[in-house]
């Protein structure tokens, strides 16, 4: 391959790849199917009688029944929020495996973010401020 065609390949290959990705991943209006929704909901809800398992992963009879309940509610047209609210009403807030990002729940998100900022500043502070010696 000559130098020119090599340079050309370096330009053409990524452009074609980017075009393919852009076409393939253009946003579509497809609704997630009911089974995927039911699974995602099951993952986000705690099995009330199990030790640290979600409704989606537990093998207990209750979890089995609750999976059926979620599927029925989806079939009846309830939104995810409505179904979650129904579970909170029955089993309390601890049924949610992801605490709401309000009130004290903010702390869960804020603490790691604060640490990230602090760590970034610390690393930046380690930088030598005078001239930089380049070494290959």
């Amino acid at each position: 391959m000559s130098d020119r065609s090599r340079t050309l390949a370096w330009l053409v290959v990524p452009v074609i790849a980017l075009v393919v990705i852009a076409i393939g991943l253009r946003p579509s209006e497809a609704e997630p199917d009911a089974e995927a929704r039911a699974y995602a909901l099951g993952v986000s809800l705690k099995c009330p009688i199990c030790a640290g398992e979600s409704i989606a992963s537990s093998q207990t009879d209750l979890a089995e029944d609750l999976r059926g309940l979620i599927a029925d509610e989806i079939a009846a047209g309830s939104t995810d929020e409505q179904i979650r609210a129904m579970f909170v009403a029955s089993y309390g807030e601890q049924v949610l495996l992801e605490p709401p990002s309000s009130g004290w729940g903010i702390a869960l998100w804020a603490a790691p973010l604060l640490l990230a900022v602090g760590g970034g500043i610390a690393i930046y502070g380690l930088r030598r401020r005078e001239s930089v010696v380049v070494e290959r």
């Binding site: 290959v13 990524p14 790849a17 579509s28 603490a111």
Partner: protein
């Protein structure tokens, strides 16, 4: 009789541990610093520990049900492998295994000491102090040789922790927890984890010894480097085996659920990963002296914290098998480790040299620091999320849960940034990397990533996160492969053949290239995590005998049912034939089963899996309605890549070990040259 022998062995080991602390400290401060000074207590520790484990195994294998542990955790019908494994499967046995491994590691460390090695003798004293805790626990709250004093309804109903008084024996034991005796992997997963957990005691001991002796240079890192990597490999292997077990046994098809105890194993591994990377910076550029002390203390504390979470029952988890006084004892140890080590660190802070500064953020050390930031940040987030329900309940009295949705949400951006950092960091030169050299070294990988992402789209993937991970993984693997070829081309300058050039490039820096192999493993496992979670197909079909159903690209037929009685359990299952989508070409016969354990009143659904290059088909019995069986059919694309990626990470660690094997000084180096060892 065997209870008294076993208990005596524990007391011998405990005395040895105490002796090791005393003689170790004394010898490390003496003039000649002779390792022979600690020989007797060390041998007592090791011999006593081994004897205790052997006596426990004898008691289990001879079905001595007068010992409460044996009566509660094994039975006459328990298969041999699980019988042997019950020696460490439950609380007291796991403490014995911990103690034995610690004694073994102490012996191995001792064999490498030399006259005048005060640092090593101090490290042995620290290991002795940790041994005092574990053997002390064995002698009190977690004595495996407590005897059974009362039998009711054929089971041991009361026990005494001291092996004195009259023992009574039930006719048969209860047997191991069914979940633990359901799959052969359970015999190997805990020992691997323990090897990892206990292994981190060695670098911790060297770090504490260096602090106590005001020797903050990099000698302690050089001396313990191989142990850190070894413990890191074992812990990774233990986590991987645990994931595999979960996949094969738990029936919901997952290998990671962000369960508190899974997190407890991941936390020290993340901290250790940060430590191994930052140790490179200190050994190479003399930076981060203080930070490395902090990281090894945190890593060791997290191993204790993990044990505490597992064994105290403080957080509800599928792993929390037992509760006892062991929990408070572990919490006490954790407090001593954290406050004691950090206190020592504070006292010695003046001897820890101030770090030379970074020449540039864009440099090898800059990217290693970014690794440290990502790892510690992720570890903190996992730790905070895991303990958040406890904190909220303690402060507000409200009950909340933090589970998979939260951890998944933070893990995804973390993983993407990590892949990007690995790609650039792997090829960044030390001190300062000019933009032109970074571009030169990474543009090939960028093209590989773009092409890989485009290919995945062509193959039908429409999930943005999956395409992103494929692209970044392609970038990482492409960049590393390109860098290897680039270096090998330089090595070829003489008259070497390509294989020779590659071998000499890798062989000249096994530490670096082992690390790169582990990075490739991380990229592979990231792809597999993305495909198995975002592209999985999950559905349930109800079939009567002879009926078929089409699921995705497959067709399943319920052929017939079977039932057999095994010792300790009844196995009921169905034979399901797996075809291609047209229901004509037979691919496999799968046998998902229900295992019923009458003694425990427990039924465990045991899945059956057909592993393929494209995807796994995972069948589990969800329920039986009269003649019909409800089958959950799960399809996981590229599931094998999870295991293969994990094995690649382990292989990388093993390659990296090779360097220090060659570089180890055979004889003590003169004081002024010791800093140059292992470089």
């Amino acid at each position: 009789m065997i209870a008294i022998l076993g208990y005596a062995a524990i007391l011998v080991a405990l005395a040895g541990a105490v002796g090791l602390v005393v003689t170790g400290i004394k010898a490390s401060r003496s003039v000649d610093q002779d390792p022979a000074a600690v020989r007797m207590p060390l041998f007592a520790l090791f011999g006593g520990g081994i004897a205790a484990a052997v006596f426990l195994e004898i008691a289990i294998l001879t079905h001595d049900f007068s010992i409460a542990y044996v009566a509660q955790n094994s039975a006459r019908g328990t298969p041999f492998v699980f019988l042997v494994a019950s020696g460490w499967a439950a609380l007291e046995g796991s403490v014995v295994m911990w103690g034995v491994l610690l004694a073994l590691f102490s012996l191995l460390v001792w064999r490498r000491l030399w006259r005048g090695d005060g640092l090593g003798l101090g490290a042995l004293a620290v290991m002795g102090a940790v041994s005092v805790f574990w053997f002390g626990l064995m002698a009190t709250a977690a004595n495996p040789f407590g005897i059974c004093t009362e039998v009711a309804n054929g089971v041991c109903s009361a026990s005494s922790w001291l092996p004195v008084g009259s023992a009574v024996a039930a006719a048969d034991g209860i047997g191991p927890n069914p979940l633990l005796a359901n799959h052969i992997l359970m015999a190997f997963h805990p020992p691997m984890l323990y090897l990892g957990y206990v292994g981190f005691t060695v670098p911790f001991a060297f770090g504490i010894s260096a602090l106590a002796r005001s020797e903050p240079g990099k000698v302690w890192l050089d001396r313990s480097h191989r142990w850190s990597v070894l413990a890191w490999i074992f812990l990774a292997a233990g986590i991987l085996l645990g994931g595999w077990w979960s996949y094969e046994v738990l029936g919901w098809g997952g290998y990671w659920a962000w369960d508190p105890v899974e997190n407890a194993a991941l936390l020290p591994w993340l901290a250790a990963t940060a430590f191994i990377h930052s140790a490179i910076v200190q050994r190479r550029r003399s930076m981060l002296q203080a930070w490395n002390f902090v990281l090894i203390i945190v890593t060791f504390a997290l191993t204790i914290f993990g044990t505490f979470l597992t064994r105290s029952g403080v957080i509800a988890s599928v792993h929390a098998f037992s509760q006892s006084l062991v929990g408070p004892a572990l919490l006490g140890l954790l407090a001593i480790v954290v406050f004691g080590s950090l206190g020592l660190f504070a006292v010695r802070a003046n001897t820890v040299a101030s770090a030379p500064r970074l020449d540039s953020l864009s440099s090898r050390e800059g990217f290693l620091l970014l690794n440290n930031l990502l790892m510690t940040l992720f570890a903190f987030t996992v730790l905070f999320g895991t303990t958040f329900p406890l904190l909220v309940e303690a402060f507000t009295g409200r009950e909340v849960s933090v589970g998979r949705p939260f951890f998944d949400r933070v893990a995804i951006p973390f993983g993407l940034i990590l892949l990007l950092a690995i790609g650039f960091g792997s090829v960044a030169p030390w001190r300062a990397a000019s933009p032109s050299i970074m571009w030169e070294r990474s543009r090939f990988g960028m093209n590989v990533g773009l092409v890989a992402a485009a290919l995945s789209v062509v193959l039908g993937v429409r999930s943005v996160p999956v395409v992103a991970v494929v692209g970044l993984a392609g970038f990482v693997i492409g960049t590393i492969a390109h860098f290897l070829l680039h270096q090998a081309r330089r090595a070829r300058a003489g008259d070497k053949t390509w294989p020779q050039a590659l071998a000499s490039t890798v062989g000249n820096d096994l530490g670096f290239w082992g690390g790169q192999l582990a990075h490739v493993g991380v990229a592979l496992i990231a792809v597999a995590i993305a495909t198995t979670s975002a592209l999985a197909v999950r559905t349930e079909v109800t079939l009567v005998q002879g009926e078929t159903a089409v699921v995705d690209d497959y067709c399943v037929e319920y052929r017939d049912a079977f039932e057999r009685t095994e010792p300790e359990r009844v196995v009921r299952g169905v034979r399901v034939v797996l075809y291609d989508a047209s229901c004509t070409e037979q691919k496999a016969v799968l046998e998902p089963r229900l295992h019923e354990y009458p003694k425990f009143g427990q039924v465990i659904a045991t899945p059956d899996v057909r592993t393929g290059l494209i995807d796994d088909v995972y069948l589990n019995i969800a329920g039986v309605d009269g003649d019909a069986v409800r089958l959950s059919v799960l399809i996981f694309p590229l599931q094998w890549l999870v295991w293969f990626g994990g094995l690649t990470i382990l292989a990388g660690g093993i390659v990296a070990l090779g360097r220090t094997v060659r570089g180890r000084p055979q004889a003590p180096l003169p004081e002024d040259r010791r800093d140059e060892a292992h470089v």
